[in-house]
Amino acid sequence: MLHETDSADNILELSDYRVGFRTERGLAKAVDGVSLSLKRGSTLAIVGESGSGKTVLNRGIMGLLGANIIEGGSAKFQGEELVNTNRQKFWGTKMAMIFQDPMTSLNPVMKVGNQVSEPLRLHQGMSRKEARDRTVELFTLVGIPEPAKRFGEYPHQLSGGMRQRVMISIALAIEPDILIADEPTTSLDVTVQKYILDLLVDVQSKSNMSMVIITHDLGVARGRADEIMVMYGGRIMEKAPSETVFQEMKHPYTQALLSSIPRLNDPKHTRLTPIEGFPPDIVDGPQGCKFAARCKYAQDTCLTLTPEETTIDTHTYFCHFPVGTDAGSEALKSNEDKGFTAAGLRIKSKGEVV
């Protein structure tokens, strides 16, 4: 299901994209039908917990999962179909990726400066000196102090935040059309995290690079992404412009996610509302909506019928009984009265899951 027909504007277009792994127990559907369009120059944040499929989705798009997976559907990069093709030609030129742990992504026995200048010399044909100068320039851009000195250092001599900055320099050196950042700040201190995220947004806006940020932290996504996409069980739950997700969230999972994190504004000892249950089995998964087993709005329909896509303006969601709608409120109320959801989850009054 394509959303935008003016595909010339879209750098990335996914249509019912799927990724599966063969396992002992059967086919593991890690990505179970994802459709999205990423406009050139914009930022998409993909939010999800472990098992949501967000990492598989992105590695799948980049082609980093190896040859032994099963891909389905369509994934077009700048109009060119990617599925079941070798994407190597894009690596280091048009597509760049930053990973969560810079220590394992950087070559430990190579000077960091060389790790940046190498792609410059390889892909952009720069001379040694040119590449070095550009590297120092990039280091300054990303805020590495004493960039010339740092050029000759090895990854283990740098702090986590610095290493991540080096990773970003490598990505920037490539001047990619799209940058995929997979949990880029998860292992960093919060002050460094802010710096890195601001930096990414800054660079992105200056170079009109498209960006996908993968994170488990909704707060990170807010204000830094044009669009937020919430994933669960290999599927999209909700997709909308950043603020819309927070102000007018429609999917119960998004709502549950936000309610389960401790908030600065709450006084101390505020009881948190966890999401009960466990992530779904992606091999032998549930029919119907993947989130139904843990959803306080769940009705019988949810257990059997997969929710269809609902799109209002720029807001897309997949839910039978969305938050804030009549159907949703009634569903919740009826569950509260019964004390159970259709999936057997016990609910106290006021929607508090037991």
């Binding site: 792994f21 063969r22 396992t23 002992e24 127990r25 593991a28 890690a30 917990e49 472990s50 098992g51 949501s52 499929g53 967000k54 990492t55 598989v56 590695r59 980093l64 999962l65 190896g66 040859a67 032994n68 997976i69 099963i70 079941n84 949990e183 488990h216 466990f278 992530p279 779904p280 089995d281 992606i282 091999v283």
Partner: protein
């Protein structure tokens, strides 16, 4: 049943049923997501190797009561042949070695001794040497290594020096010395080889102990109030034992071959058939040419046994490695 099914924890099998659409996927698939997601099943080769080892051990242990021929008896065959000296037809002995036949399934050696029986008998000694060597190495090397790795400090330095000395000693010369000074009993040979095994096993034990003692569960045990000795035995040993055991299997293999080498130097166990001796018996140039089975049968048994131990060692290590590694967040 692991209730939180995370994709990384799924394993992959060799023989999954491919449907017609999935022809582009090769047979052995692997999850890229976790680099440790190796094959979790033990596999056909594992069972094959285990079968062989069980078989050969069974034969070795029960050989006295099994219906094999006498290993030391000379089964000289006779035939009616013309005596070149007298011209008369007489019963004359046939020149051994005899090729494999219905009478002797794996043939005989130059003294008409049944090879199958001798090989089975040789298994007893060879396996015993292997087992004793490994046992000695594990107990002495393992203990020293674990003490060095856990208590560190001066104990570590002392043990390190011991290992260094043992490693630097040329094994062959040590063997010759000991055998010359003592005797050529099974025990002596095994202990000699075992001493050589102490250092590699010990070093592994030390490295593993060092690595495991950094893990938080060791600190947790200390926080509970456990004494160091308890931690060593209850927390560290079960973990170190696995890698030590896989190494021990390799040591068994090396020891069996080592015995073979000693036999060629005439230093193997006295008064018993061993595979090394058997191979030696068959290794004369003319024998190899005309009756290769004399050497090849024991060699084959040795090879199969050593290969099995090596293979098992690998498989077990992989199997337990996977068990050890967890899934972390996405």
């Amino acid at each position: 049943m692991n209730e939180e099914q995370e994709i990384n924890a799924d394993e992959v099998t060799n023989d999954s049923q491919a449907s017609e659409e999935e022809t582009s996927i090769s047979d052995s698939t692997q999850l890229e997501v976790s680099e440790f997601a190796d094959k979790k099943t033990l596999g056909f080769g594992f069972w094959l190797a285990t079968f062989w080892l069980v078989l050969i051990s069974f034969l070795a242990v029960f050989s006295p009561i099994l219906p094999f021929k006498d290993a030391d008896k000379n089964y000289i065959a006779y035939e009616q042949k013309e005596n070149p000296l007298t011209g008369k037809v007489q019963e004359r002995p046939v020149q051994p070695p005899y090729a494999p036949s219905g009478e002797h399934w794996l043939g005989t050696d130059q003294d008409a001794r049944d090879i199958l029986s001798r090989t089975v008998e040789g298994a007893r000694i060879s396996l015993a040497v292997g087992a004793l060597t490994a046992l000695f190495g594990m107990i002495v090397g393992g203990t020293l290594g674990m003490i060095a790795g856990y208590f560190k400090g001066i104990l570590d330095k002392i043990v390190g020096a011991i290992f260094l000395v043992v490693l630097s000693f040329p094994g062959l010369i040590l063997a010759i010395l000991i055998v010359a000074l003592l005797d050529r009993s099974l025990l002596t040979i095994s202990v000699t080889l075992g001493i050589l095994g102490v250092a590699p096993i010990g070093r592994l034990a030390r490295a593993q102990t060092l690595s495991f003692s950094e893990r938080e569960f060791v600190m947790a045990a200390e926080t509970l109030g456990a004494k160091k000795s308890r931690i060593l035995i209850k927390e560290l040993l079960p973990n170190v034992l696995i890698p030590m055991s896989t190494l021990a299997m390799l040591v068994i293999a090396v020891a069996i071959v080592g015995e073979g080498t000693l036999a060629f130097l005439g230093l193997s166990v006295q008064n018993s058939a061993t595979w090394g001796k058997l191979i030696l018996t068959g290794s004369g140039l003319s024998t190899l040419e005309s009756s290769p089975w004399v050497a090849f049968v024991p060699m084959g048994f040795l090879f199969l046994t050593v290969a099995s131990f090596n293979y098992l060692s690998d498989r077990i290590r992989d199997y337990f490695d996977v068990r050890d590694i967890f899934v972390t967040r996405d």
